[in-house]
């Protein structure tokens, strides 16, 4: 059998059609496509792909089961180390991870590992996974998990399965973290995927308390001293949006990407006025930044009715940090990329509304500390991009609330919680942390992986505690 050099293409909604709706862009492999794609895998003994996966999913093993049609075994193999495969299959930057190391990538395209992972997870979910509630021992120890993003969900799932009584505290009215408020419906369906995973945790007996802001409603110390929790995991993410610090940033029509996406995803502003939260889009939108968040903002703006949606990025296309697939989809949908362009001011009218984004053109100079070539301003290259809305997607930092209200919890210079990379152990006994609150804004799989490592460390900490 001759092997195709290319991945089996993913069935997708037509770009013109999907740029006007919020339904998922990728439709998922059929069984036939999945088996054909699985057949491309060479079953390498050394499995270089595995090393590229932050949680070392046994990739060849699960792909072999797909090829042979044993979907139950395939899902079990993945779930040994990845509790959210339907999510990861959709949002992991595979081209930087597993697929980067695939042997086939040397001559053509890597095996579509993410697509297969998604297929396996979706198949299992559609079949209906049977989840047995855990029989908790009467003296089961209690663990509090703060934040319900991928890090918190992973900790909760693993510890519940080990028999600990887990309560998740979430500040927002719905659990899921960035999976609910940040990543759009058209990349990651909320009801069909995210909430199903969360409901599976509930079935395990995990309690989820929403509308609970830790640091305010309860402090970490109160959870441990008054509410009887034996250990606490902090997975509060990188939720604090950065602004550019240029003039005009407070004009009407300037949003942080977090606000724009939260209004649309969590609050369902795309269904306004049926849903009560409004959103302003206008005809032309400029999104500043080059990561997944920026792509999500620009593509959401199109779907909300913008005629033109720009990405304004100060480096060149090669440096875009977003997932390859998102860049590709964005281009297909007609997003207008302004590379080597940096905003210098937001321009407004006398009523306080945005009318344009003043920018300068850049060129790439010597590499900077990050190894990427530093963008340098080209003199006299100023111009104004006429827009009605500006969305700032230049990054997020840690929300200081938990750190500032918890005695003895050390942070680093940037305000992230200082925690051991392999265990999540912090400076405060019994308190663990992981995900974006420790690393700064990173990825779903790294947050989930950190959660799993912390769950193992919490387990041994609590066993020791009990033995004493």
């Amino acid at each position: 059998m001759s092997l195709s050099l290319n991945k089996n293409p993913m069935p997708e909604q037509e770009p013109k059609v999907r740029a006007k709706n919020f339904a998922e862009v990728s439709l998922g492999y059929t069984e036939e496509l999945a088996k054909a794609e699985a057949a491309r895998c060479l079953q390498c003994k050394a499995a270089p792909c595995r090393k590229g996966c932050p949680v070392q999913v046994d990739i060849p093993a699960f792909i072999k089961e797909v090829k042979e049609g044993n979907m139950d075994v395939a899902i079990a193999k993945i779930k040994e180390v990845n509790s959210l495969p339907a999510v990861c299959g959709r949002v992991c930057p595979q081209e930087e991870q597993c697929e980067k190391y695939c042997v086939l990538a040397k001559r053509g395209e890597a095996v579509g590992i993410g697509r297969l992972e998604r297929y396996v997870a979706d198949t299992a979910r559609n079949k209906g996974e049977s989840i047995a509630a855990i029989d908790y021992a009467p003296d089961a120890q209690k663990v509090a998990v703060i934040g319900s993003g991928p890090a918190g969900l992973a900790v909760a799932g693993d510890l519940a399965k080990k028999g600990y009584k887990v309560t998740i505290f979430e500040a927002l009215h719905l659990p899921g973290g960035v999976l609910m408020y940040g990543i759009p419906e058209f990349r990651l369906p909320k009801d069909e995927v995210v909430q199903v995973e969360i409901n599976n945790l509930r079935k395990l007996g995990v309690e989820i308390v929403v509308n609970a802001v830790i640091g305010s409603t309860f402090t970490v110390d109160e959870l441990m001293e008054e509410e009887g929790f034996d250990a606490v995991f902090i997975g509060t993410g990188a939720g604090l949006p950065y602004f550019m610090g240029v003039p005009g940033e407070n004009l009407n029509g300037v949003y942080s990407a977090n606000e724009f996406l939260t209004r649309c995803n969590l609050m369902k502003a795309y269904r306004f006025p049926e849903c009560g939260t409004p959103i302003h889009v206008g005809k032309k939108v400029a999104v500043v930044g080059g990561g997944n968040v920026a792509m999500d903002g620009a593509r959401t703006a199109l779907r909300l009715g913008a005629d033109r949606s720009y990405i304004v990025y100060r480096r060149s296309e090669a440096e875009l940090p977003a997932r390859l697939e998102e860049i590709h989809h964005a281009k297909e949908e007609g997003i207008d990329f302004q590379f080597l362009t940096a905003p210098t001011a937001v321009i407004g009218n006398k009523d306080g509304w945005v009318t344009g984004l003043q920018c300068v053109r850049m060129e790439l100079g010597e590499p900077d500390a990050s190894g990427r070539r530093r963008p340098i301003e080209i003199p006299n290259s100023e111009f104004v991009l006429e827009v009605d809305t500006v969305i700032i997607a230049i990054g997020q930092g840690p929300n200081p609330l938990v750190q500032s209200t918890t005695k003895g919890l050390d942070t680093n210079k940037k305000g992230n919680i200082a925690a051991h990379e392999e265990t999540g152990v912090t400076s405060k006994p019994g308190v663990f942390a992981g995900g974006d609150i420790v690393t700064g804004a990173a990825t779903v799989i790294l947050a989930m992986g950190a959660g799993k490592k912390a769950a193992a460390a919490i387990d041994s900490y609590l066993q020791d505690k009990k033995a004493k």
Partner: protein, 284 residues
């Protein structure tokens, strides 16, 4: 779900809800706020805490029915439930013994001034309060304010109660008198807070205002509530809601509050239309 224990109409289109929320009541301090949602389609609505009762485990919220969302909220009855309620959010008012303080409340802003005035009184301050409204029928919390103030001055735009003036007039008179005023706290419409700031500025009297910009999550995640305070951008939800009135850029705040005016109209019309449909269904 959070039960509405008491519902009371304070003035035309001004409602008081006392809501069961033991965890919030336990922690609430003057100056803090909550965010609530009426139903699953609902907006997140921020409201300042007007009062709290730790024994009963309840918080009191007072709101004016202005947009579609607050009208929806006002339709809830005693015994019914709020879907979501989170808090207490924001930094509490800094309360200590200052000496003589003036608490200024305008319109619906009188409600959030009340726990602050009470806190300041309990801390041993001489509290002079100035409360104002357009006219007598929409003046709220007069008795409550009287109970926690050494002196209460009432102003109305039409002179139907107290003096016919804006709150800034008696405030200026106090500043001109031989009393040493150590602090002014003002809550009300943005334009009123701006004029209070302008009134106290020449006297150099520290003045605190509580801002209520548009916000979504209320935990520092969206940045929609950013206000310019002394050239610096602050998030009202986590850095505030109270700020030094002499440093706030009120013009930009007022412009930002107009951001969704067209949407509000559209939302109101939609809700009204839906209600009509609903009525029709019932009459069949």
């Amino acid at each position: 779900m959070y039960k509405i224990l008491v519902k009371q109409q304070l003035a035309p289109s001004v409602q008081l809800f006392e809501v069961e929320a033991p965890l919030i009541a336990k922690k609430a301090k003057p100056g803090q706020f909550v965010i609530l949602r009426v139903n699953d389609q609902g907006e997140r609505i921020p409201l300042t805490i007007a009062d709290f009762n730790r024994e009963k485990g309840s918080v009191t919220l007072i709101f004016q029915e202005v947009g579609a969302s607050t009208v929806e909220l006002g339709r809830l009855q005693q015994g019914e439930f709020l879907l979501d309620l989170v808090g207490p959010l924001g930094k509490p008012t800094h309360i200590e013994k200052f000496g003589t303080v003036v608490c200024v409340g305008g319109g619906i802003g009188i409600a959030p001034v009340y726990p602050i005035a009470r806190g300041l009184k309990e801390a041993g301050n001489e509290v002079i309060s100035i409360i104002g409204a357009r006219s007598e029928d929409i003046l709220i919390y007069e008795e409550e304010m009287a109970a926690v103030s050494d002196e209460l001055i009432i102003t109305t735009d039409d002179g139907s109660k107290g003096i016919k003036a804006l709150v800034t007039q008696p405030l200026k008179e106090l500043l001109d008198s031989d009393k040493t005023i150590s602090l002014v706290v003002a809550i009300g419409p943005v334009i009123m807070m701006k004029f209070v700031a302008e009134t106290t500025r020449p006297y150099g009297v520290p003045t605190v205002v509580s801002l209520n910009p548009i916000m979504v999550d209320g935990t520092g995640m969206c940045g929609g509530c950013r206000v310019s305070v002394g050239q610096e951008n602050k998030f009202a939800c986590v850095d505030g809601p109270e700020f030094d009135a002499h440093k706030v850029d009120f013009e930009s705040l007022m412009a930002r509050q107009r951001m969704y005016k067209p949407h509000e109209k559209q939302h109101s019309e939609y809700i009204a239309g839906k209600r009509e449909e609903g009525c029709k269904c019932h009459s069949h």
